[in-house]
Subunit: 140 residues, 6 copies
C-alpha cells in the first residue's frame, strides 16, 4: 500500500488534515470539532503531530499503523472512545473485521482477558453501526 499523503512542501497542518480525513473519517472530524470551544490549539496539535508528522511518514503502511494503534489502545484499556475511532479507522485503511478481531483476541495474551473482552465489545459496537462492506475496498 503506497502512502497517499502529500509532498513535504505541504504544511504539517494541511498534511494532518488530509491524513485525518483518510484515516479517521467522520469520527476524526467530530473530535476536532469537539475541541473547538475548550482547546482549539489542541485540535491543531492533534492534526499536526499524530497525523501531519507520524501517520504521514512513509516508513510504515497505514494498515500496519492501525494494527499498532488498535493493539495499544486495547492493551492500555483506558481510552475506550479512541479505541472505537481506531477500529473504524482500521476498517477505513483496509483491515477486515476478522483481522481486527484477531488483533483484539491476541491482546488477551499481553494485557489480559478483560482488555481483550472490552476491545471485542467495542468492535461489536462499531461493526453494528457500520454497514458491513466487509472492507472489500481497501482505503484510502
Amino acid at each position: 500500500m503506497t502512502q497517499p499523503f502529500p509532498a513535504p512542501a505541504t504544511s504539517r497542518l494541511e498534511r494532518g488534515r488530509q491524513a485525518l480525513a483518510a484515516i479517521d473519517g467522520e469520527a476524526g472530524h467530530r473530535v476536532v470539532a469537539a475541541l473547538a470551544d475548550i482547546a482549539p490549539d489542541f485540535a491543531t496539535y492533534l492534526l499536526e503531530f499524530p497525523f501531519g508528522d507520524i501517520y504521514s511518514r512513509p516508513g510504515l503502511d497505514l494498515r500496519s499503523r492501525e494494527i499498532a494503534t488498535i493493539a495499544a489502545l486495547a492493551a492500555m484499556g483506558n481510552a475506550a472512545p479512541q479505541l472505537k475511532v481506531h477500529i473504524e479507522a482500521g476498517l477505513n485503511v483496509g483491515l477486515t473485521r476478522a483481522e481486527i478481531v484477531e488483533i483484539l483476541m491476541q491482546m488477551a495474551v499481553y494485557a489480559g482477558f478483560p482488555a481483550a473482552l472490552n476491545g471485542l465489545f467495542a468492535a461489536k459496537d462499531v461493526f453494528a453501526r457500520a454497514p458491513d462492506t466487509a472492507s472489500p475496498t481497501p482505503a484510502p
Copy 2:
C-alpha cells in the same frame, strides 16, 4: 506470508513449541527454561495458549501479530523484558529495523513520549546485540 504451523491434528503443546521456536527463537526457549524450577506448568500454558492457540491462528499473518505485540508492550511500558523478546521476534518474522522504529515512535501518540523513548532504547539494545541480517530475509 503463509502461516507455517501444523495442521489441527497436532497437539496444542506441539503446535506451541513450533510457533515459539519460529517466532521468539532462542529468547523464547530461555523463558521456558527459566520457568522450569518455579512454575513448570506455566511454561506449558505459555506454549499452549499464546503460541499453540493464538499465534497459530490463520486469520492474521505473523508480521501483523508482532506489530500488535510490540505496540502493546511499548504502550503499557511495564514489561521491558518481553518487549525486547518481541522486538527480536519482529525481526524474526520479517519486520525491518526501520519498521520497528516506526511502530515505537508512533506509540508517543498513544502512550506518551516516555513510552516511545523507552521502547526505542529497548530496540537499540536488541539491534546492538543482533547482527543486522534479520531484516533482509523475512522469516520464518
Copy 3:
C-alpha cells in the same frame, strides 16, 4: 474448601464450562453469549484457559482465587464490567460482603484512593442488585 471440578479426563472445555458456571454464574454465561456473534473462538478460549486450566487447578481454593482477581481488577482500574462480575463471583464462592469491602479498601494503599473508591462503588451496585443472602451458603 475442596475443589469441585472434574478429573483430568474431562476436556478443558467441559471443565471450563463447569468452573464458569460455579464461579461466575449467570454473569459468566452472558459474557460467553455476547461473544457468539463477534468472536466465538474467544468464548472457547475463555472457557478453556482461565476456567478450564487456571481456576480448575487444585493448588489454591476458589475463595483465595477470587480475592486475587477482585484485588487485581480493582487495582488496574480499567475493567469495570469484569470487576463487577468478579465481585459477584466472590459472593458465589464464599466471600462475604464485608470481606469484599475490606479487599477493595486495601487497594487504596496499592493503587490509590480513586481505584478503591471506584471498586467500592462497583461493589455497591452489585450488592444492590443481589439479594443479601449475606453469602450464608458458601459456594460451590
Copy 4:
C-alpha cells in the same frame, strides 16, 4: 497562597473535613455521603489521610497540589469521576480554566493524546456545569 488549615491540635478527622470542604466542596461531600452505606470507615480514612494529612501539609500550596492531582489523574486515565472532582477542586483553589486546559494538553506528552483528549472532555463537562466566574476569586 497561605494554607488555611487549622493548627496541629485539631484532630486529623476535623482537619480533613475542613480541607475537603475547602478543596472539593460539594463534590467531596457527595463522595463521603455515597460511602455511608457501603464502607463508612473508608470515608473516615479518606478525610483523615488525603485531606487531614497530605493536603493539610504546609510545604506546598493548594494550587500546586491540584496541578499535581489533575495531571496524575488525567495521565492514569482510569479514574474519570475523580478527575472531574479535581478539575472542579482546581477551580476552587485558584486555577483558571485556561490553566487547567494547559495542564491537560501537556499530558499528551507524557500519557498520550487519548489521555489528554479524555481529560479535556472531562474539563468541558465540568466547565459547562459551573458558572464561569472564570475563577476570579482565587479560593480559599
Copy 5:
C-alpha cells in the same frame, strides 16, 4: 488465623510498627530506614495508614490480605520492589510458595502473560534468597 495486633487504645503509629514487623519483617524496616533522609514523614504515614489502619483491621485475615496485595502488585506490573517485599510478606503470614505461584500464574488471565512472568521471576528471586522454612507449615 487470628489478628495479632493490639487493642484500639494503641496509637496508629505503634500499631503500624507492630503490623509492619509481623508482615514485612526486615524488608519493611529497610523501607522505613531508607525514607529517613528524604521523607521521614512519609515513613510515618506508611506505618500509620497501610499498617496501622488497613492491615490492622479485623475484617480480613492477613493471609487473605497478602493474596490481594501480591495479586494487585503483579497485575499493575510497575512496582517490582514492593512486589518482592510482599511475596516475602506472604510467606511470613502463612502462604506457601506453591500458593504464591498459583496467585501469580492466575494474573496471566487478568493482566497478561508478561505480568505473570515478571511476577514469577520476582518470586524466584525471593525464594532463592530465603531459606525454605517459610512454607513447611502450610497455613492456615
Copy 6:
C-alpha cells in the same frame, strides 16, 4: 515567572532546543544524543512538540508545568528514567527539593504507596548526584 522562550517567529525546532536546554539541561541533551543512531527524527519531534509547542506556551509557568510532569510520571510508575530527568528539571525551574518531595508523597493518594515510594527513591538518587544549589536560585 515570565516565560523566557522566543517569539513565534522562531522555528519550533529552535524554540524547542532553547526550552529543552532551559528545562532539562544536560539530561535533555543526553536523551537527544542517544536517539541519534536509532531514531534521529524522533529527537526532532521531541524537541518540536513537547518543548517547541507545549512547554513554550505562555499559559502556564514552567514551575507549574514541572509539577504536572513529575506528578504524572510518578503516578504512572512506568517511566523511571524520565521521572529522574524531570525531578532534575523541576529543580532547574525553581521547585525546591522539599516541594518535589511533597508532590511525590501526594501521589500515594492517587496512585498508591508503591508509586510514591518509587518516586521518592528516584528523587533521593537525583538529589544525591546534584549539589544542593539548585533550589536557592530559581531558574530560568
